[in-house]
Structure formats: structure tokens, C-alpha cells
Amino acid sequence: MRLAFDEKGADYLLATREEHGNVAPVLLRKGEDPGAIRVDVPYQMAMILTKVNKHVKDGKIAVVARKCDERAIAELVKRDLLDPNRLALIGLACTAEQVRECRCTDPCPSTVDIGECAEPSTEDAPVAGVLGMSLDDRFDFWIDQFRKCNKCFGCTLNCPVCFCDECLLEDKTFTPEKGIPPGLAFHLIRTIHMADKCVECGECERSCPADIPLLSLRKMVNRDMKELFGYVSGDPERRSPLLTTLDGDPMEDDMHAC
Amino acid sequence: MDKKRVVVVGGGIAGIQASLDLADRGYKVHVVEKSPSIGGHMAQLDKTFPTNDCSMCILSPKMISCADHENIILHTYSELDGVDGAFPVFKVRIREKARFIDTSRCTACGDCITKCPVKVPSEFEEGLSNRKAIYIPFPQAVPRKVTIDKDHCRMMTQEKCGVCKKVCQAGAIDYDQEDTIVDIEASTIIVANGFDLMDASSMSQYGLGVCKDVITSLQLERILSASGPTNGHLQRPSDGKEPRNLGFVQCVGSRDSNTHGYCSSVCCMYATKESILAREHAPDVDIAIFYMDMRATGKGFQEFVSRARDTYGVRYVRSRPASIQAANGDSGVLMRYETRGLAGEAKVEEFDLLVLCPALIPSKDNGPLSEMLHVDLDGDGFFRTPNLAHPVDTTGRGVLVCGFASGPIDIPDSVSQASAAAARAAELIEGGGRP
């Protein structure tokens, strides 16, 4: 509390606390009773922020953010969807156990305010497993996985960097297959949409009721992005290479009133 | 008078292009075409070198744009009757010859044509098939209206028949129709009346008109055309058989001091084109082209010749035939020629079909037309353009020329020259024209 309001000079604090046995995000005004703040349950603060932003039009918001939140926020800032000047990050280091679960290679926030940085994980058994398969086996593997999909959109709804209000995967233009499961294109399109912004928070995989190893897919494609264009999502400096010229020049980008 | 008015004489590709450029530029254009349809010789061609683009396919849209254009007035089946005045005001008298048809009523349904009893050799098909005395020259004709040929119509010549009038439900037939005279004022006149094909039968050594299986290149063009007299099947006239071999004779009456000294410029290439097409229509036919110099100077022309030689096995023989006569019997042709060099020998070769590439000569109208316009022709009978700085200016101010009327050139050159004529007309109209 003191950290948020005194040191970071914020007017609000966005954190998670326990209520009736559940951990949920909460927005606290300055001076409000914090209650039982808990930081042990990962929550997609970036996503919450975009929602909060719709109502809280001014004032500075302090956010309890893990490294992946920090990178997700960077992606949203690049797209003018968040105003960096209205944000103060309270760096939260993930526990070793959490890092292992996400096979996280970059767990340490730029400033650590809470907890201690764990070692980045070095091996990634699931990804290695998929990449070890022959093309045909890999195909069968993913088809079996995607067959389990029941098109609940959990992966998109809980994704911190999915910012469309209306997802094109909901209409039939690109995914004409009727009903459930939605077919291959659904997952391929979602994958390429994530390619230049996925911060590997693992929320999609956690949210998936069918246990489709989505995080592995994301991680593999992020490796491709790095190989092809030397690009890493969450980098606050660089624009997506998919939008820029070969020399990486973006076009002018500024806001106008109509 | 409205000085932004131009008369274009001739509705071939050159006349069409000049008219379109001027009309798009906002000027009123009167196109005076002597035949019942615009299109000119290009309409008769099957394909065009060196891309083998279908001629009608690329020409037809331009013909139609001409007909549709708000600034273009088509006077087809018409001729210049008189020209007075001088730049910037020419008084032009146009005679619209009677078609004996009320064109506002004619729907070109063709009932009259089917019923007409009189057959006349078709000019468009180079005499290879017949049209009727009431006719539309070719399927893509613009305008699509029928015309009565008064020299052959029985009603006109013998006052009997009248079948067309009976069958015409539109009531468009009018045997008493007379020529209409249209008087207009124009600031400039563009001559684009193209060329005629020399009548090679006048040169007995080539056997045209004597041997059935000696034809002209323009006749072959029709034979090769899908919409032509043989529906694109390669056949020789004598017995309708597909020829086993085919010879082309270049420079018939051209590059020849006794007839026409100049080079017609396009024969080498169209002969090459026609031999490629002939091979495509009849894969087994053996082809030889007898020439003096193989003049392939345009974009892609040399490659085109190589393609004919290497891919289609066309034989190029540098020689001028000594004599051509009918082979034994009714069909085929015997040709005597000498191969070049001291080692050269006299040869006799038999061809199932022999194609002459006659000189393309100035239109026979050039004489009267040049007098009417008070401009000079050159020694060869083309319109003289002495001023290099203004290549489309004739010797008469405000009288311009483009296309083959100015001398032998191919289609792209005719087209660019036509646009040049349009530019020059615009210069004269807007700025008075640098002398």
C-alpha cells in the first residue's frame, strides 16, 4: 500500500485480494481498506487494466505486475491502448514453482518490489517433445489436440494482449466448419494473430478446459519470430516486423480528432 | 464556328486511335469511313505479331469506344465530297452514301440477309466466300447495320425481287433512299486512309488468278481466322484439302524498281506470324519463306523469327522465285528458284499452297484526296511529310496524316503516329501550331 500510494504516487492500486475464499482483482482508491491482498495467484493484470481504463479516465494507477504483465502492458502501450504516464508498476517476481510451470525464460521484472527472482527455466520438455516429432506425427498430434477444442474462446477472452472486442474467429469467413470443434484454421489464425504479441504468460493454456497445449504452440512460434526477424514480443522499443518494411521503418503514427 | 472540331478521314486503327485521343481531349471528331464499318485492314487479321494477340480481340473494344463516344460522330459508308477554306476553318462536305436502309430502324436481325437471293464475293473475306447483296461486312462490324450494295441488288439493277423489304419486320428497307450531304466546319483534317493491297495478278510470273492454289497473304489471314470462310481450318482453294506444304513469297511487287521500289515494312513479320499460325492449325504442314532480307526490326521481332525457325521448323530461304506455274493437274504449284551463292543451283519445288506477300500500296483515293486537300504526295504516292520537326504534317497547314497513308509502317507505329496526329491537332487548335 505504502509502496503504491506514497513511493509510486498513484491514485489507485490494481491488485488481487481474497474474498469469500476466491482470489479476484480489485481496484483500490487511495486510503481505502486494502483487505486481504494476495499475490500468489497469477492474474492477467494487463487485460484487467484495459477494462479498468474504460471507467477510470484519469489518475495514476499502480499495478502489481509480473514480468509477463509488464511485457503485455508494453504491447498494449505500443498500440496506444494504454497510457504509460498513468501507470506505475509494482514488480512482482514469480515463484520458482510458477516459473517451472510456465517454462518461463524471462521471469524477473525490471524492478522487483515483491518477492525474489527465481532462475529462468532452461529446458522446455513439451516444446522439445513436439519439435521432436516427424511432420506426420506432429500433424496427427495437433489434430487430436484441436479435436478437443469446444470453441469456448477461453484462450482469447483471458489473453492479456487480445484486444479486439469482437473476434473474427466468431464468424464464418475463415472458419466455415460448422459447430464444434472449430477446425484447423481457427487455431492457425489465432496463432498468427498472437505471433507478434504473445508474452508467454500461459493464460491460454491454463484457461483451456480441454487442456490443449497452447502455450507450447505460442512458444514455438515466438522462437520463429526471433529466428526470422530477431523480434521478441513485449519489447517496448520495436514495432511488429509484420507491419513494417524490411528495414523496419514503421509509417507515421499519431492520433487525430475527427 | 467551334474550332475544336476535327475531321478524320479513314476508320482503320490509325483513324480510330486519333479519333479516340482527340475525343478524350474534349474535341468533336467526325470520322469519315468509306466502307460500311470502321475497323480497316486490322479487322481482317487473325492475329498480330509478335505476340499473336487476337487482332479482333484488341481492336473491337476500340471500335466500340468510338461508336459509344459522345464526342465522336461516325460517318460510315461515306466519303469526302469537297473541302474548301484553309486552316483554321476548313469547310468540309461529307457524302453519306445511301445504304437504302433506315439505320434508326434496322436491328441487324439478319432476316433480310438470309432471304436475299444475290451472292457477291465478300470483300472482307477477300473473295474466298460470298456475302449477299444486302449485308453486314463482318460479325463485329461497327455500326451493326445492314447495307444494300446497289450494284448487285436485283431491285436496284432490274427493278425486281424486293424480298428484303418483305421480310424486314422493322420496315427499315428504303429503295428510294438518296445520298445525304453533311456540311461541317473543322479546324484540322487528319488523313488516315491506310493502304490497298497491290493486285498481284498483274504480275503474271506469280501465277495469281492462274493457279488456283496461289493466294495472297490477306486471303491466308482469313483462312486462318476462326470466323473466316474455313472456320480456321487450313485448306487450299483447289480441292479444300489441307496442304502438306506451304510457301511464302516475299516482296511481290515491292523492292522492285519495275513496280514499287519501297519496302512494305510488315510482310516479313506477318509471313512469319502466318507460318506459325499455319503450323498451329495444321501441325504437319511444312513451311518455307522465300525472302530477300528478313526485316525484323521491332520489339520482340527477332525472337519471333527465331521461334518460327527453331520451334516451328519454318524454312527461311533467301531467294526470289524465277517462275511459278500450276503443277500437273488442277492443284498445287511448281516454283522455280535459284539458291544463292556461286554454288547456287536452280531448283524446282512443288507446293500444295503458295502465298504471295504483295506490296502494300497507297490507297487509290490518295490522288483525288490530295488534290481536294491541296497537299502533295511523295514519289511513291503516299502523303508527303517533309518537315522532320513535325512528322505528321503534310505540305498543307492543318492537314495531318497518320498510319500507312504516310508510308509503310506497322500497327504500333500507326497507333503512336495517330496519337501524334492528335497531339499536333491539339497544338494547332490550342496554340496555332509551331510552324
Binding site: F174, L228 | D53
Partner: protein, 139 residues
């Protein structure tokens, strides 16, 4: 069973590749009849979504043709194409679809022969790969 006849979708940009394809036609350059061309104004307007859609629905291969880099009628449009399409191919590979089923190439308005060459070669490659496995998959 008759030999496998690939069913291929091609996107050609209006200014270079489509013109190149026309030139191939004008020159009567013969090539296998497996490639069906869709005209787009610029190769950069080809959404990777189209590629994924086509392949998921059993199309055997997708060809994306544009102007050479530097010649794009829209200045740098094809710079985007040059990155999107290769990435799409990588993604396909990750889910077990051979990336060779997608080919990006540059064909200018003057390159009728190149168009013929690319088409012939691509059809051959797809023949070697065999039918798109998605043809057999029913979700």
C-alpha cells in the same frame, strides 16, 4: 486410382504477377492446369488467413506472387508480404503441415517465362508431397 492432381490456389498482384501470367498466356507458354489464379491489387493484401483457410479446407498448395522487392506498385507493400507469408509457412510446419505447401515468389510483368517456371515447379513439388492431409481429416 488415377495419379494425384494437385488443386492449387494462387494469388497474383495486379501490376506484376497477374500481368506476367497474362504474358505467359500471350506467348502460349504451356504449364500444368492445376493452378487457379485469384487477382488481388497487391500481394500485401493477401491475408495469412486466406492461406490457412485454403489449406485447412484441403487445397493442396497456395502460391503468393508479387512484384519484385523494390518494384512494388505500392512502394513497400510487398515488404509486408515478404514477412507474413514465410511466417505463415513456419506456423504450418509447427502443426505438421509441410511448409513447402506455401510458396512466395516474385514475378514481374515481363517475366512470362518465370511465371511458367514457378507454376510448373510448384505443381511438381506439391505432386511429390502428395495430397493435403487435411483432405482426410474430418473434425
Amino acid at each position: 486410382m488415377s495419379e494425384f492432381n494437385p488443386n492449387i490456389l494462387a494469388f497474383c498482384c495486379n501490376w506484376c504477377s497477374y500481368a506476367g501470367a497474362d504474358l505467359a498466356g500471350v506467348n502460349r507458354l504451356q504449364m500444368p492446369p492445376n493452378v487457379n489464379v485469384v487477382r488481388v491489387m497487391c500481394s500485401a493484401s493477401v491475408k495469412p488467413e486466406y492461406v490457412f483457410k485454403a489449406l485447412s479446407q484441403g487445397i493442396d498448395g497456395v502460391l503468393v506472387l508479387g512484384c519484385h522487392i523494390g518494384d512494388c506498385h505500392y512502394l513497400t507493400g510487398n515488404h509486408r508480404t515478404a514477412k507474413r507469408i514465410p511466417l505463415a509457412a513456419r506456423i504450418l510446419e509447427k502443426v505438421g503441415i509441410d511448409p513447402k505447401r506455401v510458396r512466395l515468389d516474385w514475378v514481374s510483368a515481363a517475366e512470362g517465362e518465370k511465371f511458367q517456371h514457378v507454376v510448373t515447379e510448384f505443381v511438381e513439388d506439391i505432386r511429390k508431397l502428395g495430397p493435403n492431409p487435411m483432405r482426410e481429416v474430418r473434425f
